[in-house]
């Protein structure tokens, strides 16, 4: 008699694979995998590419900025930056002249590498975008953002 349950109100589906979260994770995993494969041919990892893109759009970002922008911890971003610096794709002052922030910039080699990799990544983006009806694209972005905010950033 313990199955006197009135109703599972907030539980629309009974199979996890029907949940929004599951679909979201699956799509994200597919993107990650595809990017990983595409970027490997350019000698870049996904976090590395992400950093280059952010730096191209906003030169001088700090390590902490990049961490937030790539959704990882400061420590992880730091490791990525070391790799990029060792590869000669970015520059980073050894010491800060003003505050404590060490502004990061792309080198010409970094620009070049980014542009090459970007072509491959944008092709993936194109495949994704074309998979959804054009009139729904805006709504999709809106809803993704809404979900993000509902979860607290």
């Amino acid at each position: 008699m313990e199955d006197r349950i009135p109703v599972p109100p907030p539980h629309p589906a009974h199979d996890v694979t029907e949940h929004v979260g599951y679909r979201l994770k699956r799509a994200s995993a597919a993107l990650r995998g595809a990017m990983d494969k595409a970027l490997r041919e350019h000698g870049l990892t996904v976090p590395q590419y992400s950093c280059l893109e952010l730096l191209d759009a906003q030169p001088g970002l700090s390590n902490a900025d990049l961490a937030r922008g790539t959704f990882v911890t400061r420590q992880s971003a730091n490791v990525v930056l070391r790799g990029l610096k060792e590869a000669g794709l970015i520059t980073r002052p050894a010491s800060a002249d003003h505050g404590r922030v060490l502004p990061v910039h792309l080198t010409p080699a970094g620009q070049e590498r980014l542009h090459a990799a970007r072509t491959a990544v944008y092709a993936l983006e194109k495949r994704m975008v074309e998979a959804v009806p054009e009139r729904r694209l805006t709504a999709l972005l809106t809803d993704l953002d809404a979900m993000t905010e509902a979860l607290g950033g």
Copy 2:
């Protein structure tokens, strides 16, 4: 008149943060973070919880099945299963009686733990779902799946 545009072929947007991929990753990261926090109070990690959910819906899944279902490699899934077994939440035969597959099952303790954690996770799902207009929910799921398939699984 402007829809006469041949098309801005591969580069629709100029800021990465406008791209679908970025929004997708951000939403996924937000979900991951929220789940991580919620599950910690129940002594579970996200991969562990994912396995429990899959096993609850489909008892007897193999390690490889769970790996595919949680979007990680067989090796990673194996580590997760060891943790779950050590915690007494699942059972797994030491040797296969039929093929090579070792079917995994939830223990009563596993069921219990899952049910407790599920409440917390479903609350998150609810927040997400309610953030998007109800009439668009189905479309959202459809589009997420379409993007997944466009990227090759």
